[in-house]
């Protein structure tokens, strides 16, 4: 197997003649973990200028300078039908997992949502962003999903576009099977852009009052993932996979 060059997300502009300075963590990764040296190559992207093959001009323990040499991929805008994920944060590892897998699965916006049973209210958006960057580097995306600040569930309607259908994962058994929900959207929206978001609950699920309230939102659909009790992160990822497979960019 020909291994791919290390791939890094940077903030600076990427163009011929530019010089990109690495963060200490990136320099450590490139020099110490990947053992790349001066004259070596890395792939860079910044979410705006496509992907560039860059030459390592210098690399130290905590510093590194790279020179973008050639654009290898053109930037593509985030697709209009990019999937969103609103999720009740769970324990640290599980939240990390949700962000990482959602990024791999092409989610374009992540929204932590505080519910009655949400644990870990001290949500570290910076850490979630770092998880998303790492996953974007690994999976070949040209973008990093946007992570918006945590919102209370009650404030969700104010932040949710009316045209974007919200599939909330309802463990009570009252939701429609996810394949049915997505197939029916496909029929209704024939020829139009399908905009969709998943809302996954906390460990222990949404409260009865929350489910009731969610069910009454004009843009929501109660969605069912079978009779086994899924962990919060399993439910989120499973639902996103079904969305990509049935109405997203795996089709």
């Amino acid at each position: 197997m020909k291994s791919r060059p290390p791939r890094l997300f940077v903030e600076s502009p990427l163009k011929a003649g530019a010089i990109v300075q690495l963060t200490p963590a990136q320099a450590h990764y490139l020099g110490n973990v990947m053992r790349a040296g001066t004259g070596g190559r890395a792939a860079l992207f910044n979410g705006r200028d496509g992907e560039w093959s860059a030459v390592i001009e210098s690399i130290g323990k905590k510093t590194g300078l790279l020179r973008p040499a050639a654009q290898t991929r053109e930037q593509e805008p985030e697709p209009e039908n990019g999937i969103w994920l609103a999720f009740a944060p769970v324990k640290k590892t599980a939240s990390r997992f949700i962000v990482e897998k959602a990024t791999e699965l092409g989610v374009t916006l992540l929204m932590p949502v505080l519910t009655a049973r949400t644990q870990g209210r001290g949500i570290n958006t910076e850490r979630l962003r770092a998880n998303a960057v790492e996953a974007a580097e690994q999976c070949g995306r040209l973008t990093v999903p946007r992570i918006v600040p945590p919102a209370a569930l009650a404030d969700l309607p104010g932040q949710w576009p009316a045209a974007r259908r919200l599939l909330f994962l309802d463990e009570s058994g009252k939701g429609a099977p996810i394949a049915e929900v997505l197939a029916s959207m496909k029929t209704t929206m024939k020829g139009k852009t399908i905009q969709i978001g998943v809302l996954s609950g906390p460990e222990g699920g949404f409260s009865a009052a929350e489910l009731d309230w969610l069910g009454k939102l004009p843009f929501s659909t109660a969605t069912d993932l079978g009779r086994r009790i899924l962990r919060a992160e399993t439910a989120a990822i499973a639902a996103l996979a079904c969305c990509q497979a049935l109405v997203g960019d795996w089709t």
Copy 2:
């Protein structure tokens, strides 16, 4: 929220009049972690006798005796259309994750498969089994998926029933989209039991020779999960979710 009683998988028979002895780990979990005491309740299942509500007769640091009091659920046989997962083992945490999520997603058989690029050849089937037991306890299943001993990829055909379609996850872009594969199976198999298995590759994917060989098996279908590079465990779980949603027990 009314919390569920602790739920434990045991090997002993469950019936009125029986006494069930806990393992030291179970006694620790029940007594120290869940803080259950004598006279308290736990739910027990063994994969054969349904689920029982049991009374704690005694509980110590490393020992515990429970008395099954009433059957709360009848045993259901594993469904004929239960999904199988053959997977190239990955690093410890990721393999654990695959087994845990596959169990939650209702997989009935797990088969570690050694490929050219498989890491972690020292596969601990006992540990994987423990992961599966824990996930089965948590998700409310009445069974624990079977975990068969690791097999070389070349030996897979000898162990794979000809009637069970093998969806191998092909990152080369030559596979058909998973929703298409499953929809076409549904049409072809109309009225018959759909038996399906997913085969997920190692980090770095299958080799070109392996993909070629897999594509020629009479029971296999090259299956695609889009253009982003998914981690091995993400691909496995995403594919299983699609199978349950489209032809499995979420329908």
